[in-house]
């Protein structure tokens, strides 16, 4: 069995009881990219028919290791054994043939194809599609029944929710005969309900003898579903645990290499006067869907107002309207005693002039221009300010001074103003965006999904920064699909469902269950 001791990484000969069958064994895998050692003497054992978790921060080498197993990279040294037989996996085709399936973090699906067509892709059978379609359909039906994978085979990928798209990916792997399933950050895009659904599927796959490797950075998930877990840090496996014998704190400590506070200390801050009042705001999307219906709420200085809800219930649109990305179609907003109505000019530039800063939900698409250098991104949206320019020219020296201070104060790594922001890890990108928005001294900070795709070390830091801002009297509107996050950060929580506010509660009185019920629209408070 997996032992509970930390190990140095070199002991490939931990003895196992004879009864245990290993589905995967990696021995002394090393992979270098030039001077960078992505994996160093990694040993990994995954028991057949178990769920094995791999945790580690971004850049710890998890993805490299799985890409080696899936045949995308060739290791410099080391051995791969499947079912105790040494194998050479030199391409994804080979790995699929060996019964390894991978569900990538970003799905590999053709949006304009149906589910069936996507599953068939690369596996069409004969020249004419008809016969292949029938046999695949039959196989899919039995697979989906056996494993509880509920999917509409005739639906277009673009029409089905993300959770179902993920089931299609799993079906794709199973259809090819996968006995080992690797899932890379599978819950990153899922709602809490979808996550629960996924875990049910994984458990039933396990019961049918499928071996599952789960890569994630969410410790709660590791604790709830895995049998065994390996922690990676700096390209090495630093610890193996049997899940029931460990704790999130212990895992986090091993991931980061120091003690981490998983709970947040909420500073006692004075909640002041109301600074943002939203009244009867409605919004229609380009396709004519009413995404927001008659939204009204207020936000006070020094307060964190959390907006809970399953993704896609109007939270994103609300953020877009408040931040000026979308126009205000109907209703009015009063910001610091100045009122904006639907017929008035409203855009991102204006919003910034009103003291509204925005950490957008999607930092890749919105918050950063990825090919830009850090110093250029450090002024995105504020590039018109006199601090960084004289007349129509940009003052590069002033910008560099500013960004150096910024990355120092907010611990953005690597501390280089001249590196492309696209090359930073998710956590450091988020710190850069947050730093930029906080440095603008906002009266109101809108934050969308502050910790999506962000590692633990950075999460701790981001929470601290938000709390510091709150105690300085800034009003913060927090949108997140992570209910834990909303509950532990917010003073007050409103819950959205299908474009309306279905409930409001103080975070101290609320339980996860209550809010969950409101989120699903079952209960109005």
């Amino acid at each position: 069995m997996m032992t509970n001791k930390n190990r140095s990484g070199n002991d490939a000969t931990v003895s196992l009881p004879a009864s245990t069958r290993l589905a995967i064994e990696l021995r002394d895998i090393t992979k270098r990219f030039g001077h960078v050692i992505a994996n160093s003497d990694v040993n990994l054992r995954v028991e057949s028919g178990s769920i094995h978790g791999i945790v580690g921060e971004n850049g710890a080498g998890k993805s490299t290791l799985m890409n080696i197993l899936f045949g995308l990279y060739k290791p410099d040294s080391g051995m791969i054994l499947l079912n105790d037989k040494p194998v050479e996996v030199n391409s994804p085709e080979k790995s699929i043939a060996l019964g390894i399936g991978m569900v990538h973090q970003h799905f590999m699906l053709v949006p304009t194809f149906t589910v069936l067509e996507n599953v068939m892709l690369g596996n069409e059978g004969s020249m004419l599609l008809k016969s292949g379609e029938e046999s695949v359909l039959n196989r899919l039906k039995s697979l989906s029944k056996n494993y509880g994978l509920d999917v509409d085979f005739e639906a277009l990928i673009s029409d089905i929710p993300v959770g179902m798209q993920q089931r299609v990916e799993i079906l794709k792997a199973l259809n090819r005969g996968a006995k080992v399933l690797i899932l890379d950050e599978p819950t990153g895009v899922l709602t809490p309900q979808e996550t629960i659904g996924l875990f049910d599927i994984l458990r039933s796959l396990k019961e049918q003898g499928v071996t599952i490797v789960l890569i994630t950075h969410k410790l709660k998930e590791i604790m709830s579903i895995t049998d065994t877990v390996s922690v990676m840090r700096g390209g090495k496996v630093v610890a193996d645990f049997a899940t029931r014998k460990t704790s999130p704190e212990e895992l986090a400590e091993n991931m980061v290499g120091r003690k981490v506070l998983l709970s947040i200390k909420k500073p006692a801050s004075k909640i002041g006067k109301s600074i943002l009042e939203v009244k009867n705001v409605s919004h229609q999307s380009k396709d004519g869907v009413n995404v927001l219906k008659d939204i009204s709420f207020n936000l006070k200085e020094g307060e964190i107002l959390g907006i809970a809800g399953v993704a896609g219930n109007g939270q994103s649109e609300l953020l877009d309207i408040l931040s000026g990305i979308e126009t205000l179609q109907k209703g009015q907003m009063t910001i610091n005693d100045k009122t904006i109505s639907s017929h008035q000019e409203w855009n991102s530039k204006k919003a910034r002039e009103f003291g509204i800063a925005h950490v957008p939900e999607d930092r890749h698409k919105r918050g950063l221009v990825l090919p830009f250098h850090n110093y250029e991104n450090s002024i995105l949206g504020y590039h018109r300010n006199d601090e960084y320019s004289s007349g129509f020219l940009m003052d590069k020296r002033k910008i560099l001074n500013f960004v150096n201070e910024l990355i120092q104060n907010f611990d953005v790594r690597p501390r280089s103003p001249l590196i492309n922001s696209g090359k930073l890890s998710g956590g450091n990108q988020q710190k850069l965006v947050l730093a930029r928005e906080i440095e603008s001294n906002p009266k109101i900070l809108l934050v969308g999904q502050p910790t999506r795709g962000v590692d633990i070390g950075a999460i701790e830091r981001i929470y601290e920064d938000l709390m510091k801002l709150k105690s300085n009297g800034t009003a913060i509107l927090l949108v997140s699909v992570e209910l834990d996050e909303i509950m532990s950060l917010s003073d007050r929580i409103i819950v959205m469902n299908q474009g309306t506010i279905v409930g409001e509660t103080n975070s101290s009185d609320a339980t996860e269950l209550d809010i969950g019920k409101m989120m699903s629209g079952l209960e109005q408070v």
């Binding site: 030039g34 992505a38 949206g381 590039h383």
Partner: protein, 370 residues
Amino acid sequence: MSDSNIIPKWLSVGVIPLLNLLLAFCVSGLFIFFIGENPFKAISVMIKGAFYYPGAIGYTLYYTTNFIFTGLAVALAFHARLFNIGGEGQAYIGGLGVGLTCLIFDQYLAGFLVTILAILGSVIFGAVWGIIPGYLQAKRGSHIVITTIMFNFIAAALMVYLLVNVIIEPGQMSPETRDFASGVGLVQIHMLAKYLGLNMAMSPLNLSFGIALIVSVGFWFLVWRTKFGYEVRSLGHSETAAIYAGIKVSYTIIIVMAISGGLAGLVAINELLGVHNKLLLGFTAGYGFTGIAVALMGRNHPFGIFLASLLFGALYQGGTELDFEFSSITREMVLLIQGLIILFSGALAYMLNPLVENIYIKYYGNYNNA
């Protein structure tokens, strides 16, 4: 354009373009060999024709000037991720600006004043021809590639009509305007040299070349040092991020297309004010289209565009010489060579990247993908 993250800049910007060029020359050499000429002799004639014979450099730089203008025009639009195929038409209409200004004012105003007005005219007319597709893209969503291609045809038709029916010099057959008044125009460099007591071979190289160099520096400044350039690049890399940053997308697109059209329009000052001294049919001769290859090869940077322009200038001039010296190498053969260069360094610009990457990783293995 996305550069590979794997190989260092000196390889992707320096070595790979040179390899592409070499490949184009090798294939061209094969063709020359097949028609029974010695490719090495042809190359030497070409190089001498472009740089060595009396006046050769002047001719080369004269062509270079046109390519700098159209290359910059394409490159600026590219920084906003707009594919401006309309350089040809914008240059042509820029010529109309020069022609009309000169024909209207040259009887009343001093020569140098008319020249300055004509330069402005070329920019403004070219800009208008860029603004219309820009507006249609920004406000109506008509794809800029389609509209700029269409505007090339409209420009050509319009110019034929005007030159045949309206502004043709009365009493003659060729579709040209009358000569501009003496004193109007940009001084040719060999004349300038003569004033200074230097002896230079005759060539059409004129002050436009200096203007092109100044504009190149201005281009760099605009794109990398001004707020507007920052907004343009933001928009080009990520429209969503640009909107988030409060950048007005439509406005930026229209302005970029105006400047782009204006840059292309400047071809007219080199051709009409510098050489022909009148407005005539078809003076753009494909410079607008070649500008796309120049921008691509020059990686949308003014220095790269200068080098690429120089290369194409040398090809044009050396090609003329080739045509002249070998009876079996015709003008079409020269076009073939130019086509091959455009093919290898434009359309197939990234063909060699995987190969170079693999070799680089094998021997230097210095990339970071942890």
